[in-house]
C-alpha cells in the first residue's frame, strides 16, 4: 500500500468520539531546563495523533510521562474520563497504554512468541507450552494482518518486522492506545509504507495511535490530528482534513509550510544547491572485501562531489566506513586515495594523507567525553605541527587557538573552554566533531550520520558545511540512514544491501521508489 492510498483510507473513517486520553498542564524540568511546560493534549479514541517537533522539543519527555517512564513535576493524566497516576509503565499498560520505543525492547535470541509471552507464559504440566504460545501469538498477528512468523527468532528478522513484533507485544499486553516513537527512523521506504498500512489497520480496529516524528510528510499522510511542540510547549494544534492530504495539492503545501514554521519557529532554509563539477578521482575502491559480510564492492568518489551511501541499517555501511578509515582489515581488493593503494596503511597515515572522518557513533569513534574540549578538538592531528613540535612537545597555545576557531566557525555552544566534551549537549558535541573534521581541510571526508541527533537548524548548518567542502574540491562520502538527507545532498547515490552495492544512480535520475527497492531487494 502506498503512503497516499493509506491516507485516503484514513480520511474515509474520521469520526470524533470522546478523548481516550487527556493530558492537562504537564510540566517537567531537568536541572532547570523546561522539557515540558504546561502541555495539554487530547487524544481522540480511534484516531492517529501526530506529535511533531524538532529534537529537544519535548516530544519524548511528554510520551514518557504518558507511558509512566518518568514522573511529571505537575499536571494530570486522564484515561477514559478517570484521573490516573502511574508509578511505572506497568500501571500505564494496565490502563491500556503501550509504547514502542526507538530502541526495541526485544530479546534477539528468543522467538517472536517467546518474546511476547515472557512474563506471562502459558504452561502445561508445569512446562512451558510453546505450541500454545506460538498459536496464540500467530493468531494475534494474523488478526491485525501482520506478516510475521511467530516461531522465527527475532534476531533473524529485518528491522521493519522487529518493529511489528514490538507493536504486537504492546497489543498482546492489552494496549489499546499505542505510542510510536520515531517509528520510521530506521526503516526503508517500503517498510515505512508497510508500517503505515499497519497503523491504518490498528486504527480501523479501534486503536488510538500517537505518532511521534519530526518528518512532516508522515504527519500529513497519516494523522487525523497533529500537535506541534517547540521548546517544551504546544505551539500548534489542528485537525487535518482529507483534502489537505492530497499529494501535490496547494492545501497540502500550505499545511506543510504552516507546520514547518510552527515546528522551527521560522521558515526552513533551502537545501544547498548542487553543482556538477566533479573532478579527479580521490577515493577508489576496487573489489574490496573483508572476508566477512563486506563486499566485494567498487566505489569511486571524485573531488567536488558528494556520494551518498543509502541503505537499511546493518547492510555493511559501518563495515565500509571502517574499511576506508582503516580500522577494518581488508582481505581483498584495493583502496586507493589519490591513486595510491592505502589498504595496508594505518589510520594515522591515512589521516595524514588527507582523510577526515565524522564517526557514526561519536561517543565510540570521535570524542572522549571526559577529556577537555581542547584535547578532543585536536584529536587526529595532535601528533603533527602546529600542535606538536619536535615530534613530542604539545603546544597548548596552538591547540587552544584552533579550538576557539572551531567553536566560533561552527557555532558550537560551550559553557567554557575548559569544559569537557561530556558537558556539551549531544548536538553541540556533533557540531564540534563536524567542525574539527571539516577544519582539517581534507582531500576526502567520510561523513557517517553527520546530522544524527541534530535539530533542523543545526542539520541545515552541517549540510551547508558539506556543500562548502564540495565546492572547495573535497571528495565527500556521505553515509546516512536518512534517505531524505542522502537525496538532498548527494550528486550520486549508491545503495548498499548485504555488504555490496545494490544500485547506483545520479541523484536527479532516481527516486524514493527505486532507491527503496534497491534497499530491500524487492521488485525492480
Amino acid at each position: 500500500m502506498t503512503l497516499d492510498a493509506v491516507s485516503a483510507d484514513l480520511a474515509a473513517g474520521a469520526g470524533a468520539p470522546a478523548p481516550a486520553v487527556r493530558l492537562r498542564g504537564i510540566s517537567k524540568s531537568y536541572r532547570g531546563v523546561r522539557a515540558n511546560d504546561a502541555i495539554d493534549l487530547d487524544l481522540r479514541a480511534g484516531s492517529v495523533h501526530g506529535l511533531l517537533g524538532e529534537n529537544g522539543a519535548g516530544k519524548s519527555t511528554l510520551v514518557k510521562i504518558l507511558f509512566g517512564l518518568i514522573q511529571p513535576d505537575a499536571g494530570t493524566i486522564e484515561v477514559a474520563g478517570t484521573l490516573r497516576r502511574w508509578r511505572s509503565p506497568r500501571d500505564a499498560l494496565a490502563a491500556g497504554i503501550g509504547m514502542v520505543q526507538q530502541h526495541f525492547s526485544l530479546i534477539a535470541d528468543f522467538s517472536v512468541a517467546e518474546n511476547l509471552v515472557l512474563g506471562a507464559e502459558p504452561r502445561r504440566h508445569g512446562l512451558l507450552d510453546r505450541r500454545r504460545a506460538e498459536r496464540e501469538v500467530q493468531a494475534l498477528a494474523d488478526r491485525y494482518g501482520f506478516r510475521l512468523d511467530a516461531s522465527r527468532r527475532v534476531g533473524e528478522l529485518a528491522v521493519g518486522a522487529r518493529q511489528r513484533v514490538e507493536i504486537l507485544k504492546a497489543l498482546h499486553r492489552g494496549a489499546s492506545t499505542l505510542i510510536l516513537d520515531e517509528p520510521t527512523a530506521a526503516l526503508a521506504p517500503q517498510e515505512v509504507d508497510e508500517l503505515f498500512g499497519v497503523v491504518a489497520e490498528l486504527r480501523a480496529q479501534g486503536c488510538t495511535i500517537v505518532l511521534i516524528t519530526h518528518k512532516l510528510a508522515e504527519i500529513v499522510a497519516m494523522c487525523d490530528d497533529v500537535t506541534v511542540l517547540r521548546d517544551g510547549a504546544v505551539v500548534g494544534e489542528r485537525t487535518i482534513a482529507a483534502h489537505e492530504r492530497e499529494p501535490g495539492s496547494a492545501a497540502r503545501d500550505a499545511l506543510e509550510a504552516e507546520l514547518a514554521i510552527a515546528m522551527v519557529g521560522r521558515s526552513l532554509p533551502d537545501p544547498p544547491s548542487r553543482q556538477h563539477s566533479a573532478g579527479v578521482t580521490v577515493l577508489e575502491l576496487r573489489g574490496v572485501a573483508d572476508g566477512h559480510g563486506l563486499g566485494p564492492l567498487d566505489l569511486v568518489v571524485r573531488s567536488g562531489e558528494i556520494v551518498g551511501v543509502a541503505g537499511v541499517e546493518g547492510n555493511g555501511q559501518t563495515e565500509l566506513i571502517e574499511a576506508i578509515v582503516g580500522v577494518r582489515r581488508v582481505r581483498a581488493g584495493r583502496i586507493e586515495l589519490d591513486g595510491t593503494d592505502v589498504s595496508r596503511w594505518s589510520v594515522r597515515r591515512r589521516l595524514a594523507a588527507g582523510l577526515a572522518h565524522i564517526a557514526e557513533d561519536r561517543h565510540a569513534g570521535a570524542v572522549a567525553l571526559d577529556m577537555p574540549l581542547v584535547d578532543n578538538c585536536v584529536l587526529g592531528s595532535h601528533d603533527r605541527p602546529p600542535f606538536t613540535r619536535q615530534r613530542v612537545r604539545l603546544v597548548r597555545r596552538e591547540m587552544t587557538r584552533f579550538t576557539r576557531e572551531v567553536i566560533a566557525h561552527h557555532q558550537v555552544r560551550v559553557p567554557s573552554l575548559d569544559a569537557t566534551v561530556g558537558q556539551l549537549s549531544g548536538g553541540n558535541q556533533q557540531k564540534l566533531v563536524v567542525g574539527r573534521e571539516v577544519s582539517r581541510a581534507p582531500r576526502l571526508l567520510v561523513a557517517a550520520q553527520p546530522t544524527r541527533g541534530l535539530d533542523v537548524g543545526a542539520t541545515a548548518f552541517v549540510h551547508g558545511e558539506l556543500a562548502a567542502l564540495r565546492a572547495a574540491g573535497c571528495a565527500v562520502l556521505l553515509v546516512s540512514l536518512d534517505l531524505t538527507e542522502v537525496m538532498a545532498l548527494s550528486d550520486r547515490i549508491v545503495v548498499m544491501r548485504d555488504g555490496a552495492i545494490a544500485g547506483e544512480a545520479r541523484a536527479e535520475d532516481t527516486d524514493v521508489i527505486q532507491l527503496g527497492s534497491w534497499m530491500t531487494g524487492a521488485g525492480g
Binding site: 525492547s105 530479546i107 534477539a108 535470541d109 528468543f110 515472557l118 512474563g119 507464559e121 504452561r123 512446562l127
Partner: protein
Amino acid sequence: MADVFSINLVVSGIYLSMPLILAAFGGLLSERSGVINMALEGEMLFGAFSAVAFTWWLGSPWLGLLAALMTGALIGAIHAWLSVTLRANQIVAATAINLIASGLTAALIETVWGKPGVSPSVRKFGIVHIPLAGHLPFLGRIVERLTVLDWAGLLLAPIVWIVLFRTSFGLRLRSCGEGPEAAASVGVAVISVRYRAVILSGMLAAAGGAYLSLAQVGVFQRNITGGRGYLALAAMIFGKWRPVPVLGACLLFGLADAFQFRAQVAGVNLPHDLLLALPYLVALVALATFVGRASAPAAIGKHFIKD
C-alpha cells in the same frame, strides 16, 4: 599402547569428566542468567571440603553430599550478593572467592583433623547395582561401575536442557541473560532470578567438588580441584553455553585426563608433566580454535540496575 585404549579408558573418562560436568552445568545456569561465574573453582573446593568433613563427622556420604550442596548454596549466595546486589566486578568477586576457598580449606584441614595437607579417608559412594545391566554389551561394563553421583551427572544434561528451554523459569532465566531490561519491563524479577541461578550454580559446582573428594578418592587434600573449576568454565565456553555441546566438551576433557593417567601407568615415553597438563592443553587448543560469534548470552557480565 593397546592397554591405554580400552573400555577402561571410557569408564575412567566418564569418572574424570563428572566433576567437570557438574560444575560446568552450574556455570551454565549462572551465565545464562547473565552472571559470569568464575567462582566455580572455589565453590568446588568448598564443596569438596564440606563433603569430606561432614562425612567424616556424621559417617554418611549422603549427609556429606547434602552438606556440600548447602555450602555451595551459601557460597553461591555470597557470590550473588557481591555480583548482583553490590554490582561488584564479577571477575574480581569470583577471584576473591577462589582465593579464600583455596586458603581457608587448606587451613581448615589442620583445624579439623589436626594435621596439614590431607584429611583421613572417609566412606565413599558405592556403585549403583542395576540388575542385569552387566549383561549389556559394551555399555554394561560402563553401567555396572557407575556411582549415584555419576548417574546424577549424566542425567543433569537433559534436566538442565529441559529447565532452560522447556520451562517458564528457564525462559525467564535466559531472558535475564539476554535482555534484562526487556525482561524487567514485562515483570520478570531479574535480581531474584539471577540470585536463584547463581545459588543453583554454586550448589552444582559444590556437587562437582564433592564428587572429586567423596566419589573418587575418599579424602580431602589441599587444592584437590587443581584448576578443574576453570576447566569446567572452559568446557562451558567451548560448548557455547548450550547443554549438549557443554556435556560433549566435558567428556572430551575427561577423556583427555583419563588418557594421560593411563598413559602414565602404561609407561608411555612422554615427560610426566606434559602428560599431566594434557587436559588443560586440550582445553587451550579447543578454546583457541573455537570459532563462533554471538554465542555468549548478550547481557553476560552486565549489571542490572533496578529503577
